[in-house]
């Protein structure tokens, strides 16, 4: 832990702490919402340990609570989590060697850990950021879900704190440095537009995957940087 601290430095540790705080409040509300919609306390807790992916957990609880078939809720949850496959290709080198690291590292792969790792420039820092963010978020997320489940309806409205805006802002801040590359910027913009446009028509999870169709734009931007940028951004 001390070596991770040295590699990351104060600033990054504080940033990770801040994300933990925000996710902790979301975890409190998730636990509280699950219990107040009729689930026993262990259900949200079990999901948090074995699934560890907020969006799919909310979706699962929501679908089952509204009378949906649990098997359909599993399928929906899996669809939302399918984005972890390409994530794994992008950050697969940060785990280190050995089965223990690969298994645990895979389980800690979530939006925040991937974004924190990608935002670091050298490999050592990337690895340290991934593990520090992953382990602290796992601990904070599960602890806050337990607390929320027992506290009942303590915090059910994270909107009042503006926390629903914090999550996209965190990801945006982490992704911004990668957007300096013209090709990547064009692909990210096109992908975001595709995903938003498709959201009203497709089941949850698919629109974000659809954004991958824009990835080839990365190469277009690389060959003729000046001309293509003008074309794609216009």
């Amino acid at each position: 832990m001390r070596s991770i601290q040295r590699t990351l430095g104060r600033d990054l540790m504080r940033d990770i702490g801040l994300v933990c705080l925000a996710d902790g409040i979301v975890g409190l509300s998730y636990g509280a919402i699950a219990v107040s919609s009729g689930f026993e306390v262990w259900v949200p807790m079990l999901l948090s340990v074995v699934v560890f992916a907020g969006a799919s957990q909310f979706l699962f609880i929501g679908l089952v609570a509204s009378g949906g078939n649990p098997i359909a809720a599993v399928v929906a949850g899996l669809l939302v989590n399918a984005r972890h496959i390409p994530f794994g290709f992008a950050v697969g080198d940060v785990f280190g060697k050995g089965w223990g690291r690969r298994l645990l590292g895979s389980h800690l792969m979530i939006d925040e850990t991937v974004a924190f790792a990608l935002a670091q420039e050298d490999r050592r820092r990337r690895r340290a950021a991934y593990w520090a963010c992953g382990i602290s978020l796992f601990v904070v997320w599960n602890a806050s879900v337990v607390a929320g489940a027992f506290a009942g309806t303590a915090v059910s409205d994270t909107g009042a704190f503006g926390l629903d805006a914090a999550f996209p802002a965190v990801l945006l801040a982490l992704v911004l440095p990668s957007l300096k590359d013209r090709g990547v910027r064009a692909a990210a913009l096109a992908g975001a537009v595709l995903a938003v446009a498709a959201t009203p028509f497709l089941p949850a999870g698919l629109p974000v995957l659809l954004a991958l169709l824009a990835v080839p734009l990365v190469l277009v931007g690389r060959n003729e940087p000046d001309k293509t940028e003008a074309g794609v951004n216009a």
């Binding site: 074995v50 699934v51 699962f60 496959i85 994530f87 794994g88 805006a165 990801l171 090709g183 990547v184």
Partner: protein
């Protein structure tokens, strides 16, 4: 009982998705170009997540307050403001607008 099975299946499936990338990657030697594309794919996915989670709730427009908060945070991040400021500004903008009655 069914709930336990469903939770475990969702967890196992999600883990399989997470494990697939690193496992396949270890088997296949990627060239520099493919490596670049993989990293770009993750950025594209995260950007799409930013856009959908900022603008949409369920299948409908999320209202003004949330995207305004994200925009405030984004501008500050672009101007190289500290991360803490970015996150707090995003949350405070959204919360403040709601306090004023903006949806």
């Amino acid at each position: 009982m069914l709930l336990i099975v469903c939770a475990v299946v969702l967890g196992a499936g999600t883990f399989a998705f997470r494990f697939a990338g690193p496992a396949l990657r270890a088997k296949v030697e990627l060239n520099a170009r493919a490596e670049k594309l993989m990293a770009a794919a993750a950025v594209v996915l995260l950007a799409a997540l930013v856009a959908t989670s900022a603008l949409i709730e369920g299948t409908e427009f999320a209202g003004i307050a949330r995207p305004a908060g994200v925009l405030a945070g984004g501008v500050l991040a672009w101007r190289k403001a500290p991360f803490v400021v970015v996150v707090l500004a995003a949350a405070a903008t959204a919360a403040g607008l709601r306090l004023l009655g903006v949806p």
